[in-house]
Amino acid sequence: MADMFLMGNEAIGMGAIRAGVSFVAGYPGTPSTEVLETVAKHNDGKIHVEWSVNEKAAMEAAAAAAYTGARSMVTMKQVGLNVATDPLMSLAYMGVKGGMVVMVADDPGPISSQTEQDSRTFGIYSKLPVFDPSSVQEAYEMIADAFEYSEKYKTPVLFRPTTRVCHGVENVKTLEKIQLPPIEGFVKDTLKWVIFPRTSFMNHKMIEKRNPEIGNDFSSYKFNKITGSGKKGIITGGISYEYVMEILGGRDDVKLFKVSTPFPFPEKAALEFAEGLDEVLAVEELDPVLERQMLQLVGKHHLNVEIKGKLTGNVNQAGENSTETLLPVIAKFLGEEVPEEEKTEETPSMPVRPPVLCAGCPHRASFYAVKKAVEKMGETGVYCGDIGCYTLGNAKPLDMVDTCLCMGAGITMAQGLYHMEPDKKYFAFAGDSTFFASGITGIVNAVYNQADLTVCILDNSTTAMTGHQPHPGTGKTMMGEIVEKIDIKKVLEGIGVKYIQTVDPLDLNASIEAVRNACALGGVKAIIFKSPCIAIVKSSKKCEIDENKCIRCRKCIREIGCPAISAENGVIKIDSSLCTGCTLCTNVCPVNAIGGVR
């Protein structure tokens, strides 16, 4: 078939379409986002594709879709799986009728995540089969296998690529679309679809019997393979396999076991691999999943094979692997000369480039208004942040994020702090997408439990950080339908928030006023800072500095940290290619040297 140049996530999306997926739901999160977007882009109109309000909703909807016999997929990043754990743990007992793939992307490093959790370990915990692709081509093909095994064993399966596979690119050989029988539909069967303790007990027994059978089945799975020979062996999987191959460079005097299905462990194949070996090195990222299962195998079968890896300190326990990190590890294991570490030469000192809020980002103005208002009131403010672009409000000079834990936690953490130390002013920041995903329950909790805090909703009418996905407040769905917007203000009113003020954050004085008014009242207050994401709304407005008026006090730089403003040899300049004319700096300038121009 044809060659297509695809990113890993695109390949997974295309692979799912090829496999005849009928229902795809998810919540955006790097590095998983493009999978669902690819399905939506290439949808022939027959696939239901949705950005759900959060991962839990997506999981439940996709599970029900699979109850009809349709193939369904749910997509998320690893921390999203935490949100969806409740339905998935129960679903693991109930099983499915149509194939259901839980596409969960892990992020070793972590490069853009809160945790380095390993979804393979989640597979062991939930007793669900796990597929772990090592390349883009493999991911494309393997997603169809995942659907097939899911249907064969009537269980949801996990499909977990890591960032380097998700964001890797490759020319992919595409394959013929798989033809499926018609979807049967939901058939009432209380014993099957209604979870009860007795059902779970029965199904638990069934699962424990079934999983070793799946392990045996996986022993002959085409993407699990043993190559090479010798007394020393390497067991690996995922992207680490590619690094090992890069290092071995075609040599076959090392036995190599590539495991694409880390759970249930393909024990038969592993025994074949262990045969005749003295030592095994487990090369993997995140948890020592393969290593532990090899240790278990060695113990169970009384094999005289030494297992090395993370538990023995041979492989790094945290962070991602690379050809560079593994080169000395493998050389040492093979008893070969460890390449000497290159002496780092004197390089000129390198600029650090931390990610920053864009020039003209309305979040900067919102944070600044809250900061100024609290300063003016002479109060002590505590600022509970959340997950999104606005986490970048932590950077100096704004320095407006005191806590950040997980999606939606800003509101509930502000509440917890308030109950312990009621004398301070608490602010919780949540984006519009975060508000819908998991902010609402927190606000209900704060209102019900009589907290005194101000929720600042940074409403830029999109899910900006992950690349501008629609959500319930945007009035658009992933199917392209225009729907009624769910009004954040009305939701807050419904919850019983008494003070709700909507302001344009770019109007600094009105924003400061709104914060002061909120702080003067008790209870839970809300300010909706409403202004569209500057990356979507292209502005032709610019600000300019009148050099004759500018006194070079640098207050604009010191206070707001806009990437468009810089000092060159003491002269303050605005980069017109970055400036969007938001006029926050105009408001800050003490001598009115900054004007707005069209």
């Binding site: 590619e242 890069e246 690379s322 000192s349 650090v352 920053v356 940290g561």
Partner: protein, 196 residues
Amino acid sequence: MMNKNILLCGVGGQGTVLASRLIALAAMEKGFETKGAETIGMAQRGGSVVSHVRLGENIHSPLIPHKKADLIIGFEPAEAVRCLPYLKKGGCVIVCPKDIQPVTSSLMGGSYKGSEMLEYLKQKVEKLIVVDGDEICRQCGSPKVLNVVLLGAAVASGETGITLEEMEKAVEKRVPEKFKEMNMKALRLGAQAAEK
């Protein structure tokens, strides 16, 4: 066919991803296997970005291992210096000399001089091609074509295994009609700059 490893580096927003995709497209047309990796997500917002492109046979890692890059295309001089550990002995570096200061430099210091970075590159790199991308962009009428200018230079350097004609076809395929002429000009001026 010799395998080629090409690393593109710069600052978020400079168009490194599109440039790497154009190389891959041109290579695919020739029937080369291609692999690579792109920086996506938070780092795009003003951060350092790197795209890896690997062409040829038996490629495994999507990331170019250290000391294996045949060519580094530096969209910014400090970023080119940062990526030097990837360059193979005797490898080639194409660099646009204009520095982009980090946002934080005006605030917290830590500014640097592009000229110092360039001097360092001159000392360390045998095959260094400096392309005044800014000037060529001005001639083309948009700062957005810097990526295509540098692609032109890359092709002319002979380090990509792709000819100018092949790259022209890739650009033609990928770039919207109304920007086509400007990009073709950028590609050719970039190539000329490298040949000087």
